[in-house]
Amino acid sequence: MSLAHTQSIALLGLDGHLVTVEVDIADGLPMYSLLGLPDAALSESRDRVRAAIVNCAEIWPNRKVTVSLSPAWLPKSGSSFDLAICIAILSAHETIAPDSISDVVFLGELALDGRIRSVRGVLPALIAAKKSGIKIAVVPTANYQEAKLMQGVEIIAMGHVKQVLRWLRTGEREIADEIDLDWQPSDELLDFADVAGQPQARLAAEIAATGGHHILLIGPPGAGKTMIAERIPTILPTLTITQALEVTAVHSIAGSFVSRSPTSLIAPIVSPHHTTTRVAMVGGGAHVIKPGACSLAHHGVLFIDEAPECPSGVLDSLRQPLEAGTITIARSIGNVTFPAQFLLVLAANPCPCGKFTGRGRNCTCSSQQVRRYLGRLSGPLMDRIDMRVQVDPVGRVDMARTDLGESSADIRARVIAARKVASERFSDYNWSLNSQIPSRALRTVFQPQRDAMNFLHDELDKEHITARGLHKIIRVSWTLADIKGHGVPTLDDVQMAHTLRGGSEL
């Protein structure tokens, strides 16, 4: 028999499809055809597979080899099919028992000497494999840590085709080291104790972390905006296992494990440069649809420094994911939905020269320039920002203090406690953070105290705030109440939230 088949996974975004890799070896002139809409990297698999087979002292069939990746209509890309093709060819050439591979998923790129190299998207592929009822999956050793997150599928890590062949022929295999899944946050390099002074910005960061409120930090260069933003993940609660799986799956597709361990439980932070493009921000790509910065920041922080410098449209492309918590990217090869629930942190200078703070004596910008600068942040986007916080230059008193500020661990303990209060309050609803309360519920069930509402209604009458702004203020005031232990937001909480919103509409 010169026919064999095995399994692999094709990914379209986070969705995996089980792909049957069939190989037929027929009499005829030596030929190799690969069917099933392969892209360039996949078409090149022929030469990798052939070299790997020959260099493992196996025999390459000098016949007509037809490889079919089914379903044929599904576009396939990347090098992760190499291993499956290699094993199926050897099986069709009758050197491996066909039954031993027909229900095994093989993932991995081949080096010319037969080593198995790491590939992107192992975790989402395994999730799909499990859904399709696959019990055994062979993955590259380099992806073992990530693959091990997947429960319910036997993961076999292999570093070389020879190991795979020995396993398939004799059943022997080296047991890979058990990966320690301690799920503990690794030691944190950043800590809020490093930030000198800035009580208002600290409070705003705490509120943002607790209620999931988006935040804009405005201040001159060197005041500590970036420092504060980078430390927000350290006060966020650690991810739950479900959340961590989602985060790791997205990062796996993007192949960004250089900066982030696949078993990390720390909320991710992504800080794209302000020259970033729209596609890099929301995701895209013609052949392989990759997640953008907003999906990589899923369950974490998306920090954009120098936000007004962003080309117009880049920030506004975030409006839809901010609203929906997901982003759907449509391309000719299909539609892909990535999760995108992130905490948006924007940082901006007050003006082009950056010195328009305090009395603005050193500022060299004209008043029109100053007005224009923050005006680049579009109205609809600013409307989704709950807090606009001035980060003033650190004064001599704060700098001279030798005692450090509150540490991240202390703040995080408060954040976790306050989130617990909120999630208990919302146990009957399908949201868990204060920032997610729908406006209808705000006007009916979740109203602040009466005098606080009167204050807000007065502000509304004076046209100091809009109806939308009113809702935002109430949401932040709930978070303040949770932190301070008030059952219902008081006038104090609401006024504080009003101040944090920046008073007037920007």
């Binding site: 009499d27 005829g28 002139l29 030596p30 030929m31 000098n62």
Partner: protein, 121 residues
């Protein structure tokens, strides 16, 4: 010198394949039929009445790859054109025919093996 040796190797391979075909009850119609477009190594007539046009590749080592790898798509198509040319000039156009390839590997000790593939197009 080298060229002469190669020619001898080739002729040896063709002879070996001819013997093999005769042992298979085929009749050798012509050897080394040559026109401007190229050459057909062996033309044989099977007992079933099918003409076979055979390309023989002979190698004394696989250092330059398997003999069959030297036959690419273009070469196979040229063989088909030549086959049609032969049939036309011999008044057999419309006869059933096929293109075969044979690989002869000569080992260091002088022994040889034949791989024969019929009907490759």
């Amino acid at each position: 010198m080298q060229r002469k040796r190669n020619q001898r190797t080739g002729a040896f391979g063709e002879e070996v394949v001819s013997q093999y075909l005769i042992s298979q009850c085929a009749e050798i119609v012509e050897r080394n039929w040559r026109i401007r477009e190229g050459e057909i190594d062996i033309i044989a007539l099977y007992p079933s009445g099918i003409f076979a046009f055979i390309e023989v590749k002979t190698r004394s080592s696989v250092a330059f790859g398997h003999p069959f790898e030297a036959i690419n798509r273009e070469k196979a198509h040229r063989m088909q054109r030549l086959a049609l040319g032969w049939l036309a000039t011999h008044g057999c156009l419309g006869c059933e025919y096929q293109i075969d390839v044979a690989a002869v590997l000569i080992a260091a000790d002088g022994s040889h093996t034949i791989e024969y593939r019929a009907g490759v197009l």
